[in-house]
């Protein structure tokens, strides 16, 4: 066997509380398409970012052609022949195709020779077997064309390792085939391709070798010919459901929220489910499954185009968050910092933000004392660790911030509570408390939609689980029939999963 072009040896990387990568070793060979798969948060992105110099590993070594190297930034990675193509094409929309290809070249002389550049660009594209007008502004290109331009840019820079991070997520079936043709031709020219995939069929179609990451650890790395889809799925999930997610059984009431044929063009299609009082409905799916977009539609932030929403038997149209709140829907966002909390404001002010009119006196002024009382009740009820509710939110830990966010929406006294990744980035102890809270809230008769990338969590906390894949509902599984393998297979859009369920 030839010498590996890029080796990552015993790489570990830690971000605050989470061990993103734990002693991962990977060798990438020229002329090989190496697929990297794993759940959300398995460490795929971190690994790429380390290979391209965006992050530095805490421990471990990177070798390029056997030589140990330190990569400080993407510029140095490029100089070593490592380039990455991301989900979002890194294109310059105001420049034309040829310029986009040559923008980071250094050795093209002191002046831009436009005609020469057009000729060279045409040559490179022709070599890739791509037809494109090189004088065209990049603005009008499709995502697939933009990726092609990026690949051409990488080729023109003499790349030897091309990393592709879920490049197919925005492509049509036909475009995926075009891309794969291109990727294979790169491989045949001796370029090493590291392909991060989220569709198993695609991974099995294109890859020569499949590596599975889970929880920051390398689980398996085998030639495609030696693995089956089932094996890969098992490797991806493989975690035991931890005991402390104790689910208390709650009597379910009548249907509180009913969704039929909910559709938003190009985002999600034909979502159907019923949610009963006291029920926890889990939403499972990988990045790009558009679970969160369904939640945003229900909460009126990004209203759906079509479909029917019924609350307590009444058909409703939700056009704004205000309206959703009046209808009794609350949404606890996944991005606490961006959408959830006002960091420099005190805890009590954050909690009362959506319900501020209730805290005004006759003159329309805020009654601070009342605010503090309510916040104080929540502090004791949810055990928020802070000396005073007058402290600012930014000084709290992640778990406590999450609790404040929950309080904010519980204060609305919702009928339907949508929790989007409620335990992301918080430590285990706080996680357990959040789970207890979910149980409590369900027991109070609130219908809960739990969106979570943490598969064991969804399995443990939900009464039923709705699985989405690229905007389509793959099925709803009851607590009894759901297994990690089934959910993961459905989330990867693997057709067998559906067959199995129908059988």
């Amino acid at each position: 066997m030839t010498e590996p072009i890029l080796e990552l040896l015993h790489i570990s990387k830690r971000f605050d509380m989470t061990q993103a990568l734990d002693d991962v070793s990977l060798a990438i060979y020229p002329g090989e398409i190496h697929a990297l798969v794993g759940e959300n948060g398995a460490g795929k992105s971190t690994l790429i970012k380390i290979a391209t110099g965006v992050h530095q590993p805490d421990t471990g070594e990177i070798r390029v052609q056997g030589r140990p190297v330190v990569i400080h930034n993407s510029q140095e990675a490029q100089a070593l022949g490592i380039a990455a193509i991301y989900q979002e094409p890194m294109i310059f929309p105001d420049l034309n195709v040829a310029e986009n290809i040559f923008i980071s070249h250094r050795s093209r002389g002191p002046f831009v020779r436009w005609n020469q550049m057009y000729k060279d660009a045409e040559e490179i594209l022709a070599k890739l077997g791509v037809v494109m007008d090189v004088r065209q502004s990049a603005q009008g290109l499709t995502v697939a064309q933009q990726q092609t331009v990026e690949i051409a840019r990488a080729i023109s820079l003499d790349v030897r390792v091309l990393i592709m991070d879920e490049p197919t997520s925005a492509l049509s079936l036909h475009e995926v085939q075009q891309l794969f043709k291109l990727v294979r031709s790169l491989r045949d020219r001796g370029i090493a391709v590291l392909f991060i995939g989220h569709r198993l069929e695609e991974v099995f179609e294109i890859a020569d070798r499949i590596t599975v990451l889970r929880d920051g650890k390398l689980i398996s790395s085998r030639p495609r010919s030696e693995v089956t889809v089932e094996q890969v799925i098992r490797d991806m999930v493989g975690r035991e459901v931890e005991e402390f997610f104790a689910k208390s059984s709650v009597q379910h009431g009548e249907v509180v929220l009913s969704v039929r044929g909910l559709t938003k063009q190009n985002v999600f299609y034909d979502v159907n489910f019923d949610l009963r009082r006291g029920e926890v409905l889990g939403f499972a799916g990988l990045v790009g499954s558009h679970r969160t977009d369904v939640a945003l539609a229900l909460f009126g932030i990004e209203p759906a185009d079509a479909g029917e929403i019924t609350i307590d038997g009444k058909s409703v149209r939700i056009r704004s968050p205000q309206q959703a709140m009046e209808l009794g829907i609350a949404y606890v966002t996944e991005d606490r910092r961006k959408y959830g909390l006002v960091m420099p404001m005190p805890i009590c002010a954050n909690i009362t933000l959506p319900t501020l009119p209730q805290f005004l006196n006759g003159l329309g002024l805020i009654q601070r004392q009342k605010e503090i009382e309510v916040a104080e009740q929540f502090r004791q009820r949810l055990n928020i660790m802070t000396p005073s509710v007058l402290n600012t939110v930014e000084r709290l830990s992640g778990g406590n911030q999450q609790k404040v966010l929950l309080c904010k929406w519980l204060n609305v006294q919702p009928k339907v509570l949508i929790l989007d990744e409620p335990t992301r980035g918080i430590d285990v102890g706080a996680k357990v408390e959040v789970h207890h809270m979910i149980n409590d809230l369900a027991a109070q008769g609130i219908g809960i939609i739990l969106i979570s990338s943490d598969l064991p969590e969804v399995l443990a906390m939900s009464d039923r689980i709705l699985v989405m894949h690229e905007g389509r509902q793959m099925g709803i599984y009851t607590r009894e029939e759901a297994t990690q393998e089934k959910i993961m297979a459905a989330a990867m859009g693997h057709p067998e999963a559906i067959l199995e369920r129908q059988a």
Partner: protein, 354 residues
Amino acid sequence: MKFITRILRPEQVRELVTLFLIVIIVLGFGTLLTDYYTGRTFVRVSTSIAIIAVVAMAQTLVAITRNIDLSLGAIVGFCAFFLGVQLSYHHEIGPVPAALIAIAIGTAMGMINGLIIAYGRVPAIITTIGTMAIYRTAIVLYSAPEGGIVSAHRLPMWARQFASWSIFKVGDLDFRVMVGIAIAVVILIQLMLTYLPYGRRLYAIGSNPEAARIAGFPAQRIVFLAYLIGGALAGLGGYLFLLQYGNLMVLAGEGLEFDAVAAAVVGGVNIFGGTGTAIGAFLGATLIGTLDYSLRRWPAISEFWRNAILGLLILLAVATDSAIMARLRLIWARAAAARTTEMAEAKARSMPQA
């Protein structure tokens, strides 16, 4: 249509529209006002544009990178003042060394902006509001021993006459040196933007800063240099300002930064980065300068209304940019897609069927 999309880019169409508007204005006022088509009009308009055009070049460079420089007027003022005071005492300084002094000081001030914005990562609007105030104060402090003014009669003879120096005359049309300098600057900047890798990277940064960060070229240094060059241009602007007006007060150059923004925006420079040309900004300055002068000559329009009309023009330019330019780009993209299909078909035909 197909032909137009092949030979012109949407930006060039935009520039032709600006040029067309200038012609309309000139023709319109020519019928409205008596004695409009005179050498006097040409000299007045062309010299009033010269300073704004030079400062607009500076604004264009930073605007392309998604930044702004609100301290340009203060830099112009300080350079003009500094040079004015120096010339008052040192009559031996000639025109060229004087220009170099002003440019050097402008460069230093632009460098301070660039360091704070590019390397300190402070938003440009905040930084340059701050430095604008500081540079203004510097003028006040520097000019205090002089009583806060520069007087034309204390300047050397060449400086008093410079504004009326002529490159050539065609009949009644007097083409002044100041105007020649401004046009030379516009051409140089346009050449830089088109033919130097540095110029193209300015567009790249403004077009997609995130992509610029990972594309492997020194984005920070490029923005820093844009401010540096901008400062140098403002220094040159200060030189022209002193020679144009001779008598200065501490408010010299105030508002020029906004005139420069207006010229750039009217000329099609996108204030959110990525697009715009030096020629466009120059045409914008010409349009505003011509309109401003013509409205001044028109007795029916009061000073108040003149400002309102100019303001309206700027709003109109921004509105057309977001609506019409998007349309144009769409048309161009469709034309390109059609060409691509054509090319693909031609290629398929030329290949023997396997």
